[in-house]
Amino acid sequence: MQTIDASGMLYRDLNELVRDSISRGVKEICLINVNGQRYIGDGLAKDASTIIEGTPGNDLAAFMEGARIEVHGNVQDGTANTMNGGTIIIHGDARDALGYSMRGGEVYVRGDVGYRVGIHMKGYQDMNPAIVVGGKAGDFFAEYMAGGIMIVLGLGLAPDEDIVGNYCGTGMHGGVIYLRGEVAPEQLGKEVKVVSLTKEDTRILDEYLHNYCRYFGVEREEIDKKPFRKLIPYNKRPYGNMYAGW
């Protein structure tokens, strides 16, 4: 375990330090006093664990291929951008465009997430990315979603608060969304439908919920108090009939 005090450090210096350490074989790094440094874990492919105390900057773990990052704090925009593998555990909120075009790995957010979370998330062969949100999500959740799993638990919502914003699943053409709570039809993109859960869904959910509870010390009974809805796209060719040949 190596500790790096990031206060006042420029991101390029900090990231170089992290890359160096990991390439030297350090398995666990703790970054303290992080505030706003971008690109932490960018392109990382090593089996290493980074613990971040503070607020990392944008594009945390972008293009990451496989490592573990645990953030004690909130994360900013663009976390897990085009990520291909690894695990991110966020003990706070995440901002906009979390998991854009994410193709692999898992992101667990204890609290809320911003706009466009999981936009254009993809699955491919055995790569099945997942984002688990403990609180609520903003508008355009899972927009263009093409694969993977998105779970929103809606824990701690006020009685009249929505679990997701508007345009949930707009343009969705793959993957599956599990929402623990009600969603009004007008909140959904016209490409998605609500269906009931199968046994297989329950099994899948169980795995992620187990992790969520473990990471954040949440009681499973609390989650089990409310049922899940499952959202899937009508088809994988949402814009198939939009054009006419000239």
């Binding site: 971008r38 944008n58 508007n166």
Partner: protein, 379 residues
């Protein structure tokens, strides 16, 4: 080389704002630290600040901040000022020499009050007179530019990274109850100080992030009502829209934000009859003021601070409160830098404003709201 006013220069940005809702003043160090964290959001070609409550000794005078290209024009302007205003004080704004700030113009400030007989002669109220004066100087007089014109507030801006601009202007020596800041990423280098944010008109200041795609629709709408969008910047347009809707049309703040970032028609369709009627009317009448494209703006006035995003939230913003303080910024880190443990932190939704009003203020145009709403609607 064309500069703002001669050519339209889109830019991206970082913004940050801090206010104390009790009106208690604090130094400019925090806002500099806050904006500095977002260094990478700007490219060194513009930075600026607006501060409210900094000139208590001249709170009844309009504080004109000028850029002069040379002394001759300064003399010319001073003559013009004397003709129209009573000048309570005039001085060079104190600056700190710095390697990172180059090609600074002459920077002066004057605390002025319009001469009564001039107002009578022109049959306009004081504010309108000031506005017209500012417009006239900025559009007609080469080599002079008024970049701040409100009472008990001031804008400080220039070409450079915002933290360097803050140091240059020695902002840590000022105390204000609202501070907004801007780091600019213009898509070219005018190298002109006037092009930086904030943009101000009277006590209204705007810092802005994003590019307004509806710019020319908004501009031409405004120019119908006598505004001259001399800078061709988004920020200017936002400031004028705000000025027009608030000052001239007398609309309440919530209506103004609905005009600028109106809900979608299908959202309006789902509203109750009364709401629907109002929203429909706002969109129909003020369609020319719908601000389209990505933006997040921070508007400062003597009465408070408003943050607003475009309706699909294409630009980031984060808000937080702690005690009497309200914080809004493009990135959370900018808030954490000056307030490590906020009590409440949230992501405003697209089109939903964060409104922070002074508890002491008695705004003329803003309807009285509950205590909660005064700090932040939809927080």
């Amino acid at each position: 080389m064309l500069r703002e006013g001669q050519i339209r220069i889109p830019s991206g940005c970082a913004i940050s704002g801090i206010m104390n809702k009790k009106g208690r003043v604090f130094g400019g160090g925090d806002i500099i630290n806050s904006i500095a964290v977002m260094h990478d959001r700007s490219n060194g070609l513009g930075g600026g600040f607006a501060a409210y409550g900094i000139y208590p000794e001249f709170k009844e005078e309009y504080a004109f901040h000028f850029f002069f290209d040379h002394t001759a024009i300064k003399n010319e302007i001073e003559a013009l000022l004397k003709k129209n205003f009573i000048i309570a004080s005039g001085e060079a704004i104190p600056v700190r020499k710095s390697n990172s700030i180059k090609d600074a113009p002459l920077i002066w400030r004057y605390f002025v009050r319009p001469k009564h007989r001039v107002l009578v002669k022109q049959e306009v109220d004081e504010e309108e007179f000031v506005v017209r004066f500012v417009m006239r100087v900025n559009s007609e007089i080469d080599g002079a530019y008024i970049f701040s014109s409100g009472k008990n507030m001031g804008a400080f801006k220039g070409v450079g990274y915002p933290e360097d601009i803050g140091e240059f202007y020695r902002l840590e020596e000022y105390s204000g109850y609202i501070w907004t800041a801007h780091g600019r990423f213009p898509t070219n280098t005018p190298g002109w100080w006037g092009g930086a944010h904030p943009f101000t008109l009277l006590d209204c200041s705007v810092v802005h992030n994003g590019e307004i795609s509806s710019y020319d629709a908004n501009r031409r709408q405004l120019e119908m009502y006598g505004y001259k969008c001399v800078l061709q910047t988004d920020t200017e347009v936002v400031a004028y829209i705000f000025d027009y809707l608030m000052r001239k049309q007398g609309l309440p703040l919530d209506v103004i934000v609905k005009a600028m970032a109106s809900p979608f028609w299908h959202e309006i369709d789902r509203m109750n009859k009364k709401e629907k009627e109002i929203l429909r009317a706002i969109r129909v009448v003020y369609g020319g003021f719908l601000v389209n494209g990505p933006f997040s703006i921070l508007i400062g006035t003597n009465q408070g601070m408003i943050a607003l995003n475009d309706r699909i939230k294409l630009r980031p913003s984060i808000a937080a409160t702690k005690g009497d303080y309200l914080y809004v910024a493009s990135e959370e880190a900018a808030i954490r830098q000056v307030c490590s443990k906020p009590e409440h932190m949230w992501m405003p939704r697209g089109g939903e404003p964060v409104i922070g009003l002074l508890e002491t203020s008695q705004p003329t145009c803003v309807p009285v709201r509950t205590e909660q709403e005064k700090i932040a609607i939809n927080s």
